[in-house]
């Protein structure tokens, strides 16, 4: 069930999360940050962390928690700001993003006390890990969900297919994959690099496929709430890379970039105009 | 003990079967005679007859009856 209150709460959160992403990217200075891959997943992350995920803020490693794995590790800013928005990490902790030797590097390192389930960064590995957790949960008869967020470029990796086949064959209905379908990867449009019919691919592997507007809170919520019977579920979220900042949207340049003070101010204004 | 009695006993010990059941036994005809059971049987036969079986013979040893033929190569007469 979806309430108006939940929708407006997420919509407010989403604006705050985008502001934080830009602020932290600017703070990161010369190291730069993966900005647009984080901006495209903000609604997905808000809905997960404010409505969907069964978590215990005061006990982040609670054994029966739902697991969220950011397989597309370069979306790290999206994860960190969501953890903060949900009260799992403090503002102080969040502000240590990309501090040398810190706990919030450019691509996340597993740290259960901080709510980080998986060490992302090498694309194509997270789904297998999520499959393993889901399989073990099923064996244990434990009732929690496993969510794995992947990029659409990430689906180029053969290991994603290995995980997909296994999950369907083993009826892992406690597993949901989300594809950040922004149709962009590092070198340009996905359709220009490896043209995949994303829906047909996952249907071919026997998954239950749901598509949604990745920037519409209600659409995202409905996608997550749709129940599957025995098959694992994949939500293909149609998104825009760099969403929220006009000059970053659909641009290759902001996959990873340095945000100077000037560009930061420009980005914040662009965000305000949305 | 005759060689046949020793041979039968090896099956009884290694595969946990009764002496009366051994005649028609073959590899994988019962759950105890799987790959591990087979090696336990080979090791027992080696011990009992003081011989060392070649790998080919270990692999060819497919039944109680066949085993008797194989053991004659090692001078075990029945």
């Amino acid at each position: 069930m979806i309430t108006e209150h939940e929708i407006s709460r997420c919509e407010a959160a989403v604006l705050n999360m985008r502001r934080n992403i830009l602020r932290l990217a600017c703070q990161a200075g010369n190291s730069g940050a993966h900005i647009s891959p984080a901006l495209s997943i903000v609604e997905i992350m808000a809905v997960l962390y404010l409505k969907i995920l069964k978590l215990n803020k005061s006990e982040p490693a609670w054994p029966l928690r739902d697991r969220f794995l950011l397989s597309k590790g370069h979306g790290s800013l999206g994860l960190y700001v969501a953890l903060h928005e949900a009260g799992v990490i403090s503002e102080e902790a969040l502000n240590t993003f990309e501090v040398n030797g810190g706990f919030f590097p450019g691509q996340p390192s597993k740290n259960l006390s901080l709510g980080i389930e998986y060490s992302g960064g090498s694309l194509g590995l997270g789904l297998s890990y999520g499959v393993g957790i889901a399989l073990a949960a099923k064996l244990n008869k434990e009732n929690f969900m496993v969510y794995v967020l992947m990029g659409d470029g990430e689906v180029n990796e053969g290991t994603v297919m290995e995980g997909a086949m296994f999950a369907k064959h083993n009826k892992l209905s406690n597993l949901t994959a989300i594809i950040d379908r922004n149709n962009m990867q590092s070198d340009g449009l996905c359709d220009d690099i490896l043209d995949i019919d994303m829906k047909a691919l996952w249907e071919g592997f026997g998954w239950e496929v749901i598509t949604c507007n990745g920037h519409d809170i209600r659409s995202v919520m409905e996608a997550f709430l749709q129940k599957s019977t025995t098959a694992p579920k994949v939500i293909i979220a149609n998104t825009t890379k760099g969403k929220g900042v006009k000059f970053m949207e659909n641009s290759k340049d902001w996959h990873h970039g340095r945000l100077t003070d000037e560009l930061y101010r420009k980005a914040i204004c662009a965000l305000g105009d949305q | 003990m005759t060689n046949l009695e020793k041979y039968t006993n090896a099956f009884v010990e290694a595969l946990n079967v009764k002496a009366s059941e051994v005649e028609d036994l073959a590899y994988q005809s019962i759950s105890e005679w799987d790959s591990v059971g087979h090696m336990a049987l080979m090791a027992t036969l080696e011990e009992v007859f003081d011989i060392m079986l070649d790998t080919e013979d270990v692999l060819a040893f497919s039944s109680f009856k066949k085993g008797k033929e194989i053991l004659t190569k090692y001078n075990v007469k029945f």
């Binding site: 597993k110 060490s119 090498s122 590995l125 997270g126 789904l127 297998s128 890990y129 999520g130 499959v131 393993g132 957790i133 889901a134 399989l135 073990a136 949960a137 064996l139 244990n140 434990e142 053969g158 290991t159 290995e162 995980g163 086949m165 296994f166 064959h169 | 759950s31 799987d34 790959s35 591990v36 090696m39 336990a40 080979m42 090791a43 027992t44 080696e46 011990e47 079986l53 070649d54 790998t55 270990v58 692999l59």
Partner: protein, 323 residues
């Protein structure tokens, strides 16, 4: 399992793969956290008894080794102890990054069992030989590497891997009817090499199936008047530095492995020796030439001069040279 002559012989006829499967099945009786994973090789991995006894604890991922390691890692987060099995070459090279990621970096409590180490796969050919696996995995932090010398040791190594809290790579070599090194029970400790025979002149440090070859080579060398020491280095990582340093007063240190001389046991020993001011010369015996055309296991060992007589000749030549 009671360690006695028949059981030792039974394990040796089974071969290392079967001995691993046997040990795992025995342990599974009292430990319900053990999971065996296979990449479509269940029937050939010594797991048939495990599978018939505990079918719900066998996970077959199909021909997908990389996926297998990720799944093993995920399962371990819920307290399972996964043993992921496949050919050593595919585990360590095909899924090298997964081993680095899930075992080295994330340090998940998973055990990879690579069978067919060295040339054991015979006529399956070069794609199935594992002669660079130790080199690849040794360079990754946090992974313990075990290389048992015979089948009793394989069973002990399996149990040690089970009890060890952390990632382990267990490398199995040889074929059925595996030569016996240990005729009676003994203590196996990860990281503690075992002195099989004392000697003054030549210290032979060997691993896996080459331990038996080295023991045979030693007999020939002793007939030639050289007193030989043989050390079973069953743990490649962490290497037993003390055992290496105990051999510094030998006239020659020899390492013997069914693996490239680049990056494996030989290199590991050389790394220890290189820091020392005074040390004897080191002869590294292993695979040091190009990929040769395939044949049976015995044929391949001959091709690469990894049989007892050829090992002895190489050692003797070097020994005479340095005297």
């Amino acid at each position: 399992m009671k360690v006695e002559r028949t059981s030792i012989r039974m394990l040796s006829i089974l071969g290392q793969r079967g001995a691993f499967g046997y040990a795992l099945t025995e342990k599974a009786k009292e430990n319900d956290r053990i999971i065996a994973l296979t990449a479509d090789l269940c029937t050939t991995s010594g797991l048939d008894r495990f599978k018939s006894a505990y079918p719900e604890r066998v996970v077959n991922v199909g021909i997908a080794e990389q996926n297998m390691i990720g799944i093993a890692a995920g399962m371990s987060t819920l307290g399972y102890i996964p043993f992921a099995t496949t050919f050593a070459n595919f585990a360590c090279l095909r899924a090298c990054e997964q081993m680095r990621h899930f075992m080295g970096y994330m340090q998940e409590n998973i055990k990879i069992v690579g069978f067919g180490g060295g040339f054991a796969m015979g006529m399956f050919g070069i794609t199935h030989y594992a002669i660079e696996d130790i080199a690849a995995i040794r360079s990754i932090s946090n992974i313990v590497i075990l290389s048992p010398s015979d089948c009793l040791e394989t069973a002990k190594a399996t149990i040690a891997a089970l009890q060890f809290k952390g990632p382990v790579y267990l490398r199995l070599t040889g074929v059925m009817n595996h030569p016996i090194v240990y005729k009676e029970d003994y203590e196996f400790r990860i990281g503690k090499a075992i002195l099989l025979k004392e000697g003054r002149d030549i210290a032979i440090i060997a691993t896996g199936g080459m331990v038996h070859q080295s023991l045979q080579a030693m007999k020939y060398l002793e007939e030639q008047g050289a007193s030989c020491k043989v050390v079973n280095m069953h743990t490649i990582k962490p290497i037993d530095k003390e055992a290496i340093c105990d051999s510094l007063d030998s006239k020659l240190i020899v390492t013997v492995e069914e693996h490239s001389i680049v990056g494996g046991l030989g290199s590991s020993v050389a790394e220890v020796l290189s820091e020392l001011k005074v040390k004897p010369p080191h002869l590294a015996i292993g695979v040091s030439s190009e990929y040769k055309r395939a044949g049976s296991y015995e044929f391949m060992l001959e091709q690469y001069a990894l049989t007892a007589d050829r090992i002895a000749i190489k050692i003797l030549d070097k020994y005479k040279e340095i005297l």
